[in-house]
Symmetry: C3
Subunit: 138 residues, 3 copies
């Protein structure tokens, strides 16, 4: 069994962003040299997500508006978590979008559907944060 | 390590549906012949879900009503994604219900709890779409 | 390939609770003796979750309030699932928080970010329920 680990680092200037990380995961897979197996891609921070959806700017705007409606940032004092922090909404948004994806590896490639792209979802930016890519297989 | 891959195809006539795919995943596992390992079951399309919950018609109705409240289909022009399409709501609903499940394989069987059933959730039907079943183990 | 399976049992007195199960998953990993691989931790019941987030009481209160707003328990007759039961809201809440997490194993340890903790989320307590820990690797 081959095992491979890589971290992807991000430093989003604003509070929120969606970043397509499919190329980086693809490159990690080529480095790992696994032909058949699974890749786990997860946010290592609890105010960020890794999810799979469409690389379309209109949809990302829709996600932003929708998540802000489901779990508004303001007023920050509506959340008990926000004693010393103001990121409670980010912990909520991340649950809707998810922490991780598991993707099949087939014939040495990410076994994705036609429009599937892997995204890092940042909900509390302004500092360095990481994503873990863990590959196991043969 | 054994690796096995199978696609399940669907063509839901209406816009939305929940389909129990546990028997198909079970049969894929018997074909793969894996005794210990993991099975990944994921929608290959970004307006559909694979999730685990109860096979109970009342609950499925509740999911339908609830998702429509959280991410309404109409009016379609409330979403920027809906320039040429009308399925932005389906991309949102799919995030709530999830893209994938990972199920343990123990003694050659899906290691599910007493009421756990695997579902395909369609949120933008009327065309052919796929689910990936990927099994790894021994 | 090493394969290891363990069940964690819970009996939450009230209806809802969040319980940090990181120590139990950590101990299962030590028992399994896997150095490189994946651990799947999933609720075996469909009104409960396993998720990763912060071990902070204020945030858990925020989750409780937020989930009750997204999928209220009362009035119970708003849900068709609630013919003989009153737990439809628990099936909905669990979808928001998720069924499972997959965590990387690196150098014999759970490869978690600095604040990542694994939680059991109970949404319909008052009886014995289980979480499955399945470890595969080498």
């Amino acid at each position: 069994m081959i095992s491979y680990r890589q971290e992807l680092w991000f430093n989003v200037p604003g509070r929120r962003a969606f970043i397509n990380i499919t190329p980086q995961v693809d490159e990690a897979l080529r480095t790992a040299g696994v032909k058949e197996g699974l890749v786990l891609v997860n946010a290592m921070h609890i105010t960020a997500s890794v999810f799979i959806n469409d690389d379309e700017a209109g949809l990302h705007h829709d996600y932003e508006v929708w998540l802000e409606k489901l779990a508004p940032h303001e007023p920050v004092n509506q959340y008990r978590h926000n004693g010393y922090e103001d990121n409670a909404d980010a912990h909520l948004k991340r649950q809707v979008m998810g922490r991780e994806v598991v993707v099949a590896i087939t014939n040495g490639k990410l076994d994705l559907g036609p429009w599937e792209q892997i995204f890092y979802g940042e909900f509390d930016g302004g500092r360095k944060k990481r994503v873990l890519v863990k590959i196991i297989g043969e």
